[in-house]
């Protein structure tokens, strides 16, 4: 009887115990997860977490080194081909893409739905979210507009806010130059229940929005030269805002979007009517940046890409991972060096090689240039030597062999140059048998480009006036071209506007090679249908007892359909998902 009582008591006790355990509230949320309140924290007077969020916006900016399927985007232009064909750049170069299968690294529109993809819509959202959220963070620091830290002036968070604004404008530009007009989201942070099926804004509206954002941001950013480069040297600056504006306006004025023969029929991909004043806007924007005088050409061309705080650099995307390093070398350097293994990914074309003038500034086609087809790499523009590795070039303490069967073109089935050239821009001088490390930041804007922007726009408005000539002379002087007796650096006196345009286009090609310019330049100039529909050539060098014979060989038959391919198609899945775009607002000529 007692027994029963005990058992019942034990039973009740047990039930109570379990029930008590069961009643404890479970953890509602994993404590290691960070919610929005941690990012924009009203108690965070240092803005530690908010800054980390801003860095995420920065990190959306892409690094161009071997960006597109392991190749430079320029390998999809007439400047180079990929040494291992069949990848994304080959698809781009041969017009092998549609709205469905736009090569992934150039499809900067889609795939946001996978978390943390560096993607411009994601960048735009993050920037807007930062701008909306930063106001609650009581960041104490003040930054004066002249860049003084902790001085009296604009609060740091206001600077940060404008950095996000400028980055957002930059992301929009990256979209617009590829797709034409895109939906403009403004300052609203859209949520899942909002109607996000927004129509595309016209090309004109996108351009004016980006320009106005640059204008809004530029006076609230730190300025170059940086007061405290050790801390701030990857921030966007006033110069970056002005450079972006100049570039946007230059693109907007270009024939692909501002068609001189009657405008562009589709407002999504250009202006409906031509206006010469757009060149004027571009020229003014570039000259304004030149006028503030914060930047100058670096006398050493190579150093622009190898060192920090270069006087020429306006905006830069820092390299990922460890710096200094040799990723550029190991991806693109010549093959055949056991101690410094390299992949030789990028094969510059003969077309690019031939576009470099001689050291006297004359093009190789000029009978007076002194060009010797049997010794083709002698006495060329300094930028040739800084950009291209050729047979006989000094490399890793030896002389490069890219003749058939040479050490760096062994023809053994490995990836190797297809053209007998390797790229060496962005690479250190590499004078020892092992690679020497260097900074590998990706330059987005540099002063030379601004000078070229100005020259191009000014030539269109006023013809080849002195200020146009002067920009080219400055660049040629820095490149080591001899001034010549007439102090014209090989430039012809009294060129027509058309002649000058061709010279500027060539100068931009050789100055900015592999900097993701040429691919878009040939589109906006409307010359892609010419240069990308003829075979791209390389050199085949045979070495017979030291006697070298040079033969041109075809390395790729590219393809370009104009004007359809001046812009990419809106990705097919977006066309399906966004009824406000739909097939009706797809870019002209594209069904898929």
């Amino acid at each position: 009887m007692k027994n029963y009582k005990n058992k019942i008591l034990i039973g009740i006790g047990l039930i109570t115990l379990v029930a008590a355990a069961a009643c404890r509230k479970s953890e509602k949320f994993p404590v290691d997860k960070v919610s929005g309140i941690y990012i924009f924290d009203p108690r965070d007077s240092a803005g530690t977490q908010a800054l980390k969020y801003l860095l995420n916006v920065y990190s959306v900016v892409e690094i161009g080194h071997n960006r597109v399927g392991g190749d430079y985007l320029d390998a999809a232009s007439d400047d180079a081909v990929s040494s291992s064909p069949g990848g994304q750049v080959t698809i781009l170069a041969t017009a092998g893409y549609t709205a469905i299968d736009l090569p992934a690294n150039e499809n900067v529109w889609s795939s946001t739905n996978s978390t943390n993809t560096a993607n411009y819509w994601n960048g735009i959202r993050s920037a807007t979210e930062f701008m909306a959220g930063i106001d609650v963070v009581p960041v104490k620091d003040f930054v004066a507009p002249n860049g003084k830290i902790n001085g009296i002036g604009v609060s740091t968070r206001y600077i940060w806010r404008n950095e996000a604004r400028l980055l957002r404008a930059y992301f929009y530009f990256e979209l617009v130059k590829r797709f034409g007009g895109v939906p403009l989201l403004g300052d609203k942070v859209y949520n899942v229940n909002d109607n996000i099926a927004l129509p595309r804004s016209s090309f004109a509206d996108c351009i004016s929005y980006i320009v106005s954002e640059c204008d809004k941001a530029k006076d609230s950013l730190i300025t170059a030269p940086l007061i405290n480069p050790a801390q701030d040297n990857y921030r966007v600056t006033q110069g970056a805002a002005m450079a972006l504006k100049a570039k946007v306006l230059l693109y907007a004025a270009s024939p692909a979007f501002n068609n001189p023969s009657g405008g562009n029929s589709n407002p999504l991909t250009g202006y409906p009517s031509y206006s010469a004043s757009r060149w004027q806007l571009a020229a003014t924007a570039a000259s304004q940046l030149m006028a503030i005088g914060n930047y100058s050409l670096d006398p050493n061309f190579k150093n622009i890409f190898l060192t920090q705080n270069d006087p020429e650099v306006i905006m830069v995307r820092t390299a990922n991972g460890t710096n200094p390093s040799n990723n550029v070398e190991s991806n693109n350097g010549p093959v055949g060096f056991g101690s410094a293994v390299a992949q030789g990914r990028t094969s510059p074309t003969q077309e690019l090689v031939d576009s470099y003038p001689m050291s006297n500034g004359l093009p190789i086609t000029d009978p007076n240039s002194g060009y010797d087809p049997n010794n083709p790499y002698n006495n060329r523009d300094g930028r040739f030597y800084a950009t291209i590795l050729y047979n006989g070039a000094p490399w890793l303490g030896t002389t490069l062999q890219t003749y058939e069967g040479g050490i760096s073109k062994p023809n053994n089935g490995q990836t190797e140059t297809l053209t007998s050239y390797y790229m060496c821009k962005f690479m250190g001088p590499q004078t020892t048998s092992n690679f020497q490390g260097h900074d590998e930041d990706w330059v987005i804007f540099r002063y030379a480009e601004i000078k070229l922007d100005f020259a191009e726009a000014r030539n269109e408005t006023d013809g080849p006036v002195d200020s146009v000539y002067q920009q080219l002379k400055d660049l040629r002087l820095r490149a080591g071209i001899a001034p010549g007796a007439d102090n014209m650096y090989g430039l012809t006196v009294g060129m027509t506007k058309d002649q000058m345009r061709a010279v500027i286009q060539n100068e931009r090609r050789i100055e900015m090679a592999f900097e993701e310019q040429r691919y878009f330049d040939i589109r906006r100039w409307g010359i892609a249908s010419t240069v990308m529909n003829q075979p791209l050539m390389g050199m085949s060098i045979t070495n017979s007892n030291g006697n070298l014979t040079y033969n041109l060989i075809q390395v790729l038959q590219p393809k370009f359909v104009a004007p359809k391919m001046n812009v990419y198609p809106i990705p097919y899945d977006e066309v399906l998902k966004n009824p406000a775009i739909g097939q009706a607002h797809q870019n002209p000529g594209w069904s898929f």
Binding site: E27, V34, T112, N323, V561, D573
Partner: protein, 1069 residues
């Protein structure tokens, strides 16, 4: 109180007296006939089955049901014959009744064959048991004894074709990784994580990989619960069906020791054949000639890779080093490998303590030949070893308190070559071709790839296997279950309370032994100059090894259950049952490896809690009524959306108990109709475990400032959905159970089901990318899944041959009712209205003729590369050649593009499976055969599995289209270009998609039970058996050299499913 107890005690006394009186009369009744006939013949004997003696079997004299005995703890009986029939009827629960003629015999040795389709079949359901007679839900079950000897390491591999409603697919044969994926009644969720059935072992939830570690020898019964009335008790986890396993327990009697040892030979179910060097070289030339035809005008044709001299040398084989011809598959893969398995179990006990203790060891070798590392110190082959230990104890603490303690551990050791994909490369043309390199150089050194098709100087596969190191993972599972049942008849008869605590833990760590640098010495031998050239990316010496290791995952799970059971019969007809359950589970996972488990499970325990209840009532076994409900939830959902109700009702009506029915159909032993309806749930959500909460993740750093310190950054994760709830499924099941003919020889079970899965958690696919951030899962998907399943069993005997057949059929077809899909390009591509995972692709209509190709190319040249408007359709911008695959142009615009895709074939998971089990026994011999078939499914093999120049050349390539073979072409023209219309990767079509079926002789078992007199020593039972797994396969395709259970859109698995022929012995003493 005192008063009550007095009454109680009085009752006890009264009952005891009554019992004695009844017993007295019983004895009188039994003795009476004996006295009348006064026969004196006494028969003794032993009752056994294949596994050992059977205590508790009933032995009854035929014609005199009252003259019966049961076997004792040693399976022995002694009966005095009183009638004239000279026949004994022997019965054991779950087994076929046997009639033994004892004319002229005084001792008999009765061997029972196992058959679980009898009337008394007990099915284990959630927290209880049911029988075929009283069950109202959809349950299928088997006795594990039926599958114990099947030579496979995983219990789920043994179930295909045996349980109606069970669908499985075994897509790999790699030791330790060969467990089937399985589904109950197909799939119904669009959410890929939302279709896995719940697995319950001894009422405790297990994971998929915990299940596959269990030794079948420890299992008593396996059931699957298929409808709402049986799964509602699991509530939020019940929607995908439940697999319920119970383990063996001791029975009172002398210790029974059972020992089983077996060894088997494994071999591939299919051995792929690749063409030799000569044929491959011919086909390379053929493809290059084809490609030369497609060159733009004016471009010089490319030199063919192989000259006539090359071809001659390949054919003659006289230059084995300059022109090698290596059959890599057969050089690398063994024809046979071995597996062994041994089990020992001891069970027995008395009324106070019963025990079942078992141990087992299993070893499976890999199918790769042994390429030991150059120092002979490493085993780089595949293998899997597993040790199991279980101790199940039942104790009677006193008259009313039962205790139970189960302890299990499982240790396993899985080894694989570190270059796990290495064996997959056997198919890969870019890695291994017959002319890549000689297997070894004449001086015994390793060779490296030296052919224009194998770039990168890759050392040969045997070199890489030998020096590539291995990956060895060791895993330990622990399970402890403590259970106390307090009978509470004192309160009210039939009531008991149970408290249960179960703890389980899994720990897996792995070690990789890797070469410290991957440079392996390999040489190219030039037979002309007799020189050896070192691989340019090789080294002169073998690399040293380094070892790394990590804990892959570590999980602990604590489950507390508290329940009250009620089971009482009022009067003799009103049977009432009830259950009230409180269940709480907390699961903590540490996962180092994001591949195995969701990394978001780390650190915070996953919690589950709920109440479940069940009430049942039946009147005389005739009218059956059950109601089930669960109120439970998990922490995957926000606090205000965490708990839900999951109710179900079921009804049964046993017509055979009605008098009018008995009169009409006296031969029908059971005729029961039943139906159930209810709602169950599924809490699996894709992606983030906390869909309701948004968070930010510390991500890739950004270098800021001159010193380039790597600052962390935060990024926004997918948006949250605060309203997220579980998926729900409405389930209707209508069933029929019948036993027909005399002795219930024919039994039929049939179920029809109709399920609607709604509120499915899917990630919206219809939101513009402009949003710029990932989306959360939302409860919008809706699908329907319906079908039928059942089984027909028949058992009888012809003379002394007993036989039984069982035919199992399952059909489940699902359909998407709503998926948040964007408006597709072509209505042919809509997913809604079609099955989940419906393949979409082009429709093949034939091969282009030369004239058609010419017309397309002319038209395109004239229209800027665009074929739009041409009467013969082709993709834009591609030069077509004769022998290319031609697809149907649905919108007749002349262009083959996205608009021309349509629904082709079936999903990869078969929607119909059949099983036919045939058993026969004669004296000690028995044979059991299971044919299993799967129908209505499709697959495409891509990449290295089939595509020329990605795959090694296969016999099908010999039937490729050529101008001379145009009429009989079985394969498109060969081309080196990877992305033409002929590629299944770029142009999936019903040319490549196989609408497959297969029938397998899944298992075959021959057994001989040794008669007692042949048993040496003190053995009480002994048998030898031959068992086979996947013995013969018939399938309907010859395009692919793959096992039919392949996953679609893959290159196939180089570790093909294994066929096992296994010989075993078993002894009991």
């Amino acid at each position: 109180m005192e008063f009550l107890i007095k009454i109680f005690q009085f009752n006890q006394i009264k009952k005891a007296v009554m019992r004695k009186i009844i017993l007295f009369f019983q004895i009188i009744i039994i003795m009476l006939p004996a006295a009348l006939y006064a026969q004196t013949k006494t028969v003794t004997g032993t009752v056994r089955d294949g596994e050992g003696i059977l205590p508790g079997a009933t032995v009854v004299e035929k014609g005199l049901p009252a003259n019966g005995v049961t076997t004792d703890g040693n399976g022995k009986f002694k009966i005095t014959m009183k009638g004239t029939s000279e026949v004994l009827i022997v019965r054991f629960i779950g087994d076929v009744t046997r009639e033994i003629n004892v004319a002229g015999k005084n001792t008999v040795d009765v061997i029972m064959s196992t058959n679980s389709h009898g009337l008394d079949e007990v099915s284990v359901v959630g927290f209880g048991k049911t029988t075929r007679i009283t069950n109202t839900g959809a349950v299928s079950s088997i006795n594990a004894a039926e599958v114990r000897e099947i030579p496979t390491a995983n219990v789920q591999n043994t179930l295909a074709g045996r349980l109606p409603g069970f669908f499985s697919q075994q897509s790999s044969g790699q030791p330790g990784k060969d467990a089937s994926d399985f589904f109950i009644r197909g799939i119904s969720s669009l959410n890929p994580a939302g279709n896995q059935p719940l697995i319950i072992v001894d009422d405790i939830e297990y994971t998929y990989d915990q299940l596959q570690q269990i030794n079948v020898n420890e299992i008593e019964t396996i059931s699957i619960l298929k409808d709402a009335s049986t799964t509602a008790i699991y509530g939020i986890k019940g929607a995908n069906g439940v697999l319920v396993v119970t383990t063996r327990r001791g029975k009172a009697g002398t210790p029974k020791i059972n020992f089983r040892a077996e060894t088997g030979i494994q071999s591939n179910t299919i051995t792929p054949v690749f063409l030799d060097a000569y044929q491959s070289a011919l086909l390379v030339n053929q493809a290059e000639a084809n490609d030369n035809l497609a060159l733009p005008a004016g471009q010089a044709p490319r030199q063919l890779s192989f000259t006539q001299n090359d071809l001659n040398l390949f054919k003659s084989g006289t230059d084995p080093y300059g022109h090698p011809n290596v059959d890599w598959y057969n050089e690398i893969v063994n024809k046979y490998s071995y597996q062994t398995n041994a089990n020992l179990d001891i069970s027995g006990g008395n009324e106070q303590v019963k025990y079942f203790i078992s141990g087992g060891a299993l070893n499976q070798d890999g199918d790769v030949k042994n390429f030991p590392d150059p120092r002979g110190e490493l085993n780089n082959n595949y293998y899997f070893t597993r040790y199991n230990f279980r101790s199940n104890l039942d104790m009677k603490a006193n008259k009313t308190l039962d205790l139970r303690l189960d302890v299990t551990t499982r240790f396993s050791d899985l080894n694989q070559p570190l270059a796990e994909g290495a064996v997959g490369q056997l198919y890969d043309f870019t890695k291994e071709t017959p002319f890549t390199a000689p297997f070894l150089n004449p001086n015994g050194s390793f060779a490296y790839a030296y052919s224009p098709f194998n770039s990168g100087h890759l050392p040969t596969l045997n070199a890489r296997l030998a020096s590539g190191g291995n990956d060895n993972s060791r895993r330990t599972d622990y399970n402890v279950l403590f259970n106390a049942v307090q009978k509470l008849d004192a309160f009210t008869p039939g009531l008991s309370a149970t408290a249960r605590v179960a703890y389980s833990s899994v720990e897996q760590y792995s070690a990789q032994i890797t070469p410290s640098s991957s440079a392996i010495p390999s040489y190219h031998y030039d037979p002309v100059a007799n020189t050896y050239t070192l691989n340019p990316s090789g080294a002169y010496v073998f690399p040293t090894y380094s070892q790394t290791g990590q804990t892959d995952f570590y999980t602990t799970d604590v489950n507390i259950q508290l329940f009250a059971n009620y089971d009482r019969t009022f009067g003799s007809l009103n049977h009432v049952t009830g259950l009230f359950l409180l269940n709480q589970d907390s699961n903590t996972t540490y996962a180092n490896n994001t591949i195995i488990l969701d990394p978001t499970q780390v650190a915070v325990p996953a919690k589950f809690r709920g109440l479940s209840m069940r009430g049942g009532y039946d009147y005389a076994g005739k009218y059956l009524f059950d109601i089930n409900a669960a109120y439970n939830g998990t922490d995957r959902f926000a606090a205000n959306h965490r708990y839900g109700w999951f109710p179900a009702v079921s009804l049964g009506y046993a017509l055979n108990k009605e008098d009018y029915f008995k009169n009409l159909f006296p031969a029908i032993g059971l005729f029961k109709i039943r139906g159930s309806y209810g709602i169950v749930g599924s809490d699996a959500a894709p992606g983030n475990r906390y869909v309701y909460n948004q968070y930010y993740t510390q991500g890739g750093g950004y270098n800021f400032g001159q010193s380039e310190a790597d600052y962390n950054s935060y990024y926004e994760n997918s948006l949250s959905n605060p309203n997220v709830v579980w998926e729900r499924q409405k389930e209707l099941d209508l069933g029929l159970d019948m036993n027909l003919l005399k002795d219930n020889k024919l039994s039929v079970t049939f179920d029809y089901f109709h399920n609607i899965r709604y509120d499915q958690l899917i990630t919206p696919a219809n939101v513009s990318e402009v949003l710029g951030v990932g989306l959360p899962a939302v409860n919008v998907g809706k699908t329907q899944n319906q079908g039928f399943d059942g089984q027909i069993g028949y058992h009888s005997n012809i003379g002394k041959v007993q036989f039984a057949t069982n035919f199992v059929f399952s059909y489940a077809k699902n359909k998407i009712l709503y998926e948040d899909e964007p408006q597709p390009a072509s209505p042919n591509e809509a997913l809604t209205g079609w099955p989940i995972n419906q393949p979409i692709g082009y429709h093949f209509v034939g091969y282009y003729t030369a004239a058609e190709a010419q017309e397309i190319n002319t038209y395109e040249a004239a229209h800027g590369g665009n074929n739009k408007g041409n009467s013969i359709a082709a993709p834009i911008g591609e030069i077509m050649e004769a022998g290319d695959l031609k697809y149907y142009d649905f919108n007749h615009d002349g262009v083959i593009d996205e608009y021309d895709k349509t629904h082709i074939g079936h999903p990869n998971l078969p929607n119909t499976t059949l099983g036919l089990n045939l058993q026969a026994s004669y004296k000690g011999f028995s044979i059991s055969v299971l044919f299993q078939g799967s129908f209505n499914y499709s697959f495409i093999v891509t990449g290295t599995g089939i595509e020329p120049f990605q795959s090694q050349f296969q016999p099908i390539d010999l039937q490729a289209w050529t101008p001379s073979n145009a009429a009989n072409a079985q394969f498109p023209r060969l081309t080196q270009v990877p992305n033409t219309v002929n590629s299944p990767t770029f142009y999936p079509s019903d040319y490549w998609l196989v609408n497959a079926y297969y029938i397998r002789l899944k298992t075959l078992e021959l057994r001989y039970v040794l008669p007692s007199k042949l048993l040496p020593f003190h053995l009480t039972a002994g048998s030898i058996y031959l068992s086979c797994y996947n013995l013969i396969t018939w399938d309907n395709y010859d395009k692919y050299q793959q096992d039919p259970e392949i996953s679609t859109n893959t290159v196939g698995d180089a570790y093909i499913n294994q066929r096992v022929v296994n010989l075993g012995v078993q002894f009991g003493f």
